[in-house]
Symmetry: C2
Subunit: 463 residues, 2 copies
């Protein structure tokens, strides 16, 4: 946990952003895998961690905006629990570290909420994403699950606060990046011809675990870099394959890292891979250089896209005017997703609160329908204190090419003939994490090698 | 998956045990960790795996008892999904492998159930343990979550069927045991003075993962063997410590293994540890020898307990008549839990269906109140085809001793003075998995060393 003052100040800042009523936070539960007592590793809700720091299952908390007090609802261990699980710090002692003086049994929350309902007080809550929270909210508020109405003013207040990272949060993120960077180097040493995808995943998990971290998300480790969400790891890397490794860890306090590297299973890229890699790297570096407060991330995304299109033009896969191609979304045959996203206590920070609120504004809302741009999680103007990823890529997806080619879609920008040679090329992505500073940006964590030369030298050194 | 015929026959056998109506099975979903698209590893519900073999999230199935047909409800991938996740086998093709000819979109399940409700057909379902299933059942059946009434006849039919393991299920369990056995040997080699608990856990996970398995449950790896459910791994093993390792894996089809060994971090046990270990081993071997059809597991549990009490008497921690001590539950100061449990697709097999139905009978119901015996998950007469664990132990729990001693509880059987010397002794458990055969029993999986001599020799060989 951070200091007691941290949590007290964060809650005070939240109160200042809201008018009146009660804010209700539900913590996460121990989620059953295949029966009640066989559970997944516990992960507290990130907003709960942010305001209370308590990594304890089955608790809830309220902030009373009118009476300026916080209460945590949860049960102390019974003697049966102590016999089974050993003596532990009491919930009350844990809460004291969060600056919460008052705890109350779980069962008393419904009475508390009932009183608030009776006195017609506003009860603010965030959108629930775990089913257990949906049920509990439904029961507490006496509203069907499908009719729960999260508080937009609360969402906006939390997003405003969590978006600007404190120095101690940056330190945690950089801890996560320290471990993730070493983990990626390990993967580069292991990811050779004959290696299985899962061998890299398991070795990374082992490394992260031994360094007091866990995966921040299911890693993507694949010879099919064009598959954006690949969570099966049964392929073997062969000669000519690239390894795409998108993986990051979170610290014990819950702060994430999110890095991607693409490297040859062999000790060198093929000439074609090198050309394509350089296009992605150019796009990465050029867009990174634009990071600064006041610039919209959407404009940086579009810039990154133009660099990709120019590169694809240079090698003959695209043609025509670059700006026109981007305006027509022709690039989305090769770059289907967004340039990056916020990162913090969640790898896609605050995604549970809604991308519209996290990444966009009422004045410039998210485009939720156009293929490509609808996957851009962050579009709004940057502010100092934001932490985000930059992750351009090129993905050659046979199924998508077939669909586009069947209707000769945007053929003025796409050379479908040439594309045949690339059908099984795969995909490339490069991703780092940055802090927006008053002056511009700062790379978070150690530098992880990413030039063609550095990667080939590293592979050769460990061959 | 097993053969198509396997699933067809299992569903036919279930139909034969039930009269009429519809059986509704909900599969598990991808469970969110901290936001909707960041999920825990998917694990299908075990009963769903048993009857359909489909390890696919967000599907459901019905067996129509009257019309003799099965339908799986789920959605095929959209082109967006294929772009994001790659081309995959269709749900229809997967269902064909399960002998299910008819699939229907997820959305049509509510119409199907509504029709069944309108025609007053019985809708059988099992007790939901994941919150997502509770919500879905509540919405489908239009009943509040707290009023859902699972079908006892269905529970009994499923338990009767799943309790008797098929030869191919035994083969899977033995695959899990093959991997778990090697994993335990790895832990013995690693578990030395100076090792951290988590280093063993992470190395075991790495080994299991590289052998196409995953943990069947959060492992217990601890220098505090007396803590029965210890899932924090931050201690370092010191001189004089024992390592208690209770861990098992499940295969890709979902079949579990569940082994426990206790060994010295040093290369030898202390004399006191050796004596206590031998008591547990004697209890283990003596109770194992009683395994055979027709014998109640409760009687074997009581026999194992008597052997423990005799041993504790021999070293001076208990006193008085052994049978009287057991009848008075005096042993439960040292052995607070049950001798074993069923194992199969779940490590505690079918625990979601209710211990009363899995481990007991209407005639001999479970004792749910007496400390000690209330934790015995299996009490009923054994049948050929059962797979179960035997896992006696001795646990010296300071908090429990203090409570008992404060009231001088059962002092005629317990030597509280002598017990002072043992206050920080810790705990010992030994656990293997067995199949009940017509003749008696068979140890499943390879023999994993467990005598004092074998363990010390192994530790010395790798020191
Ligand atoms: Mn990312
Ligand atoms: Mn067990």
């Amino acid at each position: 946990m951070f200091s007691k003052e941290t949590y007290i100040q964060r809650r005070a800042a939240l109160r200042n952003r809201l008018s009146s009523g009660i804010v209700l936070f539900l913590g996460n539960i121990d989620n059953p895998i295949n029966f009640k007592d066989n559970c997944y590793p516990f992960r507290q809700d990130s907003t709960f961690l942010y305001y209370f720091g308590l990594s304890v299952p089955f608790i809830a908390a309220i902030i009373d905006l009118d009476e300026d007090k916080s209460i945590v609802f949860g049960d102390e261990l019974s003697i049966d629990d102590i016999v089974w699980m050993g003596q532990q710090e009491t919930l009350q002692a844990k809460c004291a570290k969060s600056g919460v003086a008052q705890t109350s049994p779980s069962g008393s929350l419904s009475t508390f909420i009932q009183k608030a309902i009776d006195s017609k007080r506003t009860i603010h809550f965030l959108p629930p994403y775990q089913s257990s929270s949906k049920i509990r909210l439904s029961e507490l508020l006496q509203v069907p699950v499908s009719n729960l109405k999260p508080s937009v003013s609360l969402i906006k207040a939390v997003v405003a606060q969590r978006s600007i990272k404190e120095p101690q949060e940056i330190t945690e993120i950089e801890k996560a990046l320290q471990v993730a960077t070493e983990m990626h180097l390990l993967a580069m040493r292991l990811g050779n011809i004959g290696t299985k995808e899962y061998e890299i995943v398991n070795a990374m998990q082992h490394y992260a675990g031994d360094h007091n971290c866990s995966f921040a998300y299911p890693p993507i480790v694949t010879r099919h870099g064009e598959i954006l969400h690949n969570h099966h790891y049964h392929n073997t890397f062969g000669k000519g394959d690239m390894v795409l490794n998108d993986s990051g860890v979170e610290t014990s306090l819950g702060y994430a890292s999110d890095l991607t590297r693409t490297f040859p299973a062999d000790t060198t890229f093929t000439p074609l891979q090198r050309d394509m890699y350089q296009i992605v790297l150019d796009s990465f570096e050029s867009s990174r250089n634009l990071l600064q407060p006041g610039v919209s991330f959407k404009s940086i995304h579009l810039h990154a896209t133009e660099i990709l299109v120019q590169g694809l033009k240079d090698i003959g896969l695209m043609r025509g005017n670059v700006a026109d191609a981007v305006a027509a979304h022709a690039h989305s045959l090769f770059f289907q997703c967004g340039l990056g996203h916020m990162m913090g206590l969640d790898v896609h920070d605050m995604e549970d609160l809604g991308e519209q609120y996290v990444g966009y504004t009422d004045e410039n809302p998210k485009d939720t329908t156009t293929f490509g741009i609808k996957s851009l999680r962050l579009g709004k103007e940057l502010e100092a204190g934001y932490v985000l990823t930059i992750e351009p890529g090129i993905y050659i997806i046979p199924e998508l090419i077939d669909i586009w080619q069947a209707e000769n879609k945007l053929a003025e920008f796409i050379n479908y003939d040439k594309l045949k040679e690339f059908r099984h090329f795969g995909g490339i992505r490069i991703e780092d994490n940055f802090l927006i500073t008053p002056e511009g940006y700062r790379l978070l964590g150690p530098e992880l090698i990413k030039s063609v030369e550095d990667i080939e030298n590293y592979k050769q050194a460990y061959a």
